[in-house]
Amino acid sequence: MSIKHGLLALLERGPMYGYQLRAAFEESTGGSWPLNIGQVYTTLSRLERDELVRPLPRSEEGQRPYQITDAGRADLASWFATPVSRGDRPRDELAIKLALALTTPGVDVGAVVQTQRSATMRTLQEYTRLKARADQPADLAWRLVLDAMLFQAEAEVRWLDHCEASLVRHGPQGPSRRRARLAGQPSTEVPTEVTT
């Protein structure tokens, strides 16, 4: 997701100036993505350079509204038509942390899993609390954004449950042994402490 397409989508509603765009952007993301006004103007000037928006004459109050161009509409339509690729998202730090915990001697993997589960559960509780508050039909866009965050947190807890069940079945040292074998080391012993 880029700020660029967010602003284009908002301008499709009608011309707006910088502060209006910022307010509308934050409103439509339920405040989950605050923008500073500098980001809005930088993005607008890039959009103007690429001829996706055009500035309109200043208002009497001195504000300069922007309008989406036909090229901007085409760009926006193509953005909506293109699925978001999972590969474009940031790497999953948690999955990498778990993988490293498994292969690093002396790490209590079960504790890493539980610490994360407890924290993610807490997040899930708070999202649910916000959801319990937001039950006006007018809040539909916001509720769906909140649901996205809820589902992601829930998926994380489910994955952690899965990790724990796998740990119970295979033991935390499994991957280390395999790694050792793959590396051509004869021993199946896994050191319990890091020696330097």
Binding site: G31, Q114, R117, S118, A119, L124, E126, R129, E154
Partner: protein, 241 residues
């Protein structure tokens, strides 16, 4: 005010080498207005905990206190009376009686406890209204949707003066929207002055609770409570983490 308390509760099934320690020294308090979720894999002791909390089972060691009454000193008759008067259950299988109407199902625990028919009926209709089933009293369970049946079960669990509701996977067979409505309802009934224990393996459902207790092999390994500032979560991901 504490509605339910487990103090260092142990429950061992069988004896000798085949003994199974279903619960190992669990301490848990549930206050008025509080919904506590219990999560854990199968066999972690969730259902045992719920059975002990509701006086359906007795601990091997430790004490269970419900509404100020220590269950250890209770006779079987006294326990049965306590279950009728103070504790409500919502199970995955609804356990509604098919041959009774919604109102009769809800009135049943009161009538079993000796309440007059008219008083029981009045309280039952009020309990149905509280779960948004005003006017559904004369319907039979098979004339109600799954979500409505589960709401009848919640009305029955909290009819009359009962203030402790114990729920075991109460959204079992319901679709996610209906299941959420059931939890929303449970939440609002607890907020209105009851106390609840919710056993579930679904994080999404446990998230309606004030606290989430994680059970492993019969022991509490962790408890998650809510943050003080829910809105703090709405900072952008880059800044929040």
């Amino acid at each position: 005010m504490t509605i339910m308390e487990l103090r260092e509760v142990w429950r061992v099934h069988g004896s000798g080498e085949t003994a199974v320690q279903a619960l190992r020294g669990v301490t848990l308090t549930v206050e008025e207005g509080e919904l506590v979720a219990v999560m854990g894999p199968s066999g972690s002791g969730k259902s045992t905990l719920l059975n002990l909390a509701g006086g359906l089972d007795r601990p091997t060691r430790g004490e269970v206190v419900v509404d100020g009454t220590a269950l250890g000193g209770c006779s079987r008759q006294a326990l049965a009376a306590l279950r009728r008067r103070r504790v409500g259950y919502v199970f995955q299988d609804l356990n509604l009686l098919a041959s009774l109407t919604a109102a009769e199902n809800v009135a049943l625990p009161l009538e079993l406890d000796g309440a007059g028919v008219r008083r029981a009926r009045r309280l039952a209709l009020a309990a149905l209204a509280e779960v948004d089933l005003d006017g559904y009293g004369p319907r039979f369970p098979d004339e109600l949707s799954g979500g409505q049946q589960q709401r009848v079960a919640i009305a029955r669990a909290l009819v009359g003066p009962r203030r402790l509701v114990l729920a075991d996977e109460p959204t079992g067979a319901l679709d996610s929207q209906t299941g959420e409505a059931v939890l929303r309802l449970l939440r609002s009934r607890v907020d209105a002055g009851a106390a609840g224990v919710l056993v579930t393996h679904e994080a999404r459902h446990a998230a309606w609770a004030d606290r989430v207790v994680f059970l492993r092999d019969g022991a509490v390994v962790d408890t998650s409570g809510p943050l003080d500032q829910p809105d703090a979560l709405l900072a952008p991901p880059g800044r929040a983490r």
